[in-house]
């Protein structure tokens, strides 16, 4: 079944949003998982007993499929640019959850990447 033109673009938007959420969620989960104490095998066993590592892996597996679906519906040259928003989302989430610093240069970078993605999103 081929969706109509209008529903293709809304499906693309949903896939794009899911990709950002899963990528950011996955990276934050891995960051939380990496906070495990000990080293070597003890550390890995500790990580395996807590949900963060598995949550991260789960996010990445689903993201893998979502990203393929997204790329099937858009030209690759457009999709790869729209995917750059992940860089921004991870930094903003890191600021909110882990209190990472946002310096002026970082804010400039975030704004420029967002602007670029917006231009591609609007103009194609």
């Amino acid at each position: 079944m081929m969706p109509a033109a209008g529903s293709i673009s809304s499906l693309v938007a949903v896939l794009w949003l899911l990709n950002v959420v899963l990528d950011t969620g996955g990276q934050l989960a891995f960051k939380a998982a990496a906070n495990a104490p000990g080293d070597g095998l003890t550390r890995w066993l500790h990580m395996a007993r807590r949900p963060w590592l598995w949550l991260g892996i789960g996010c990445y597996v689903i993201e893998f499929l979502i990203w393929i679906a997204f790329l099937s519906l858009l030209p690759l040259s457009e999709a790869i640019l729209l995917g750059s928003i992940n860089i921004v989302a991870v930094m903003v989430a890191g600021r909110l959850l882990f209190g990472e610093k946002l310096t002026r240069l970082r804010v400039a970078g975030i704004l420029l990447v967002t602007l670029g993605v917006a231009i591609v999103g609007v103009a194609g």
Partner: protein, 133 residues
């Protein structure tokens, strides 16, 4: 620069693996059309070799990145690791007959400028660790 060649080859390798990953993903999707949220789509996807090419690209990129990070400063490494946006765009024109529209070129320029800013920000914030004895 003593390690100039090491960095250059490392970053080109990283860009190569990332491009292989993105292009394999695109081929994987193209050969499994139409996109459906069901098991048939997954079976079509994993029956073709492309999806495994994507996995190889990502594993290669991961190990190249980890090796580079041992030696290269994080800021420039971060910026260089996102340059595959450019190589993938150019390869798309060649492989998939896509067009570099004004919107895409303008957007890519802004994104690249942003990535350079983020790379510079990383360089400023990370004090280099003392060299190992």
């Amino acid at each position: 620069m003593k390690h100039g060649w090491f960095y250059l080859i490392g970053f080109l390798l990283l860009m190569g693996f990332d491009s292989i990953g993105a292009i394999s993903f695109k081929y994987a999707g193209m050969h499994a059309l139409p996109v459906e949220a069901n098991i048939e789509w997954l079976l079509r996807l994993f029956a073709k070799p492309w999806v495994y090419g994507a996995v190889v690209g990502y594993i290669g990129a991961f190990f190249t990145w980890m090796t580079l990070l041992k030696h290269a400063p994080i800021g420039p490494a971060f910026a260089a690791s996102h340059l595959e946006v450019v190589s993938v765009m150019l390869l798309s024109v060649w492989l998939f007959d896509e067009h570099l529209t004004a919107g895409r070129v303008l957007g890519a320029v802004a994104i690249l400028a942003g990535i350079v800013c983020l790379g510079l920000a990383e360089s400023h914030e990370h004090v280099p660790e003392p060299a190992e004895a």
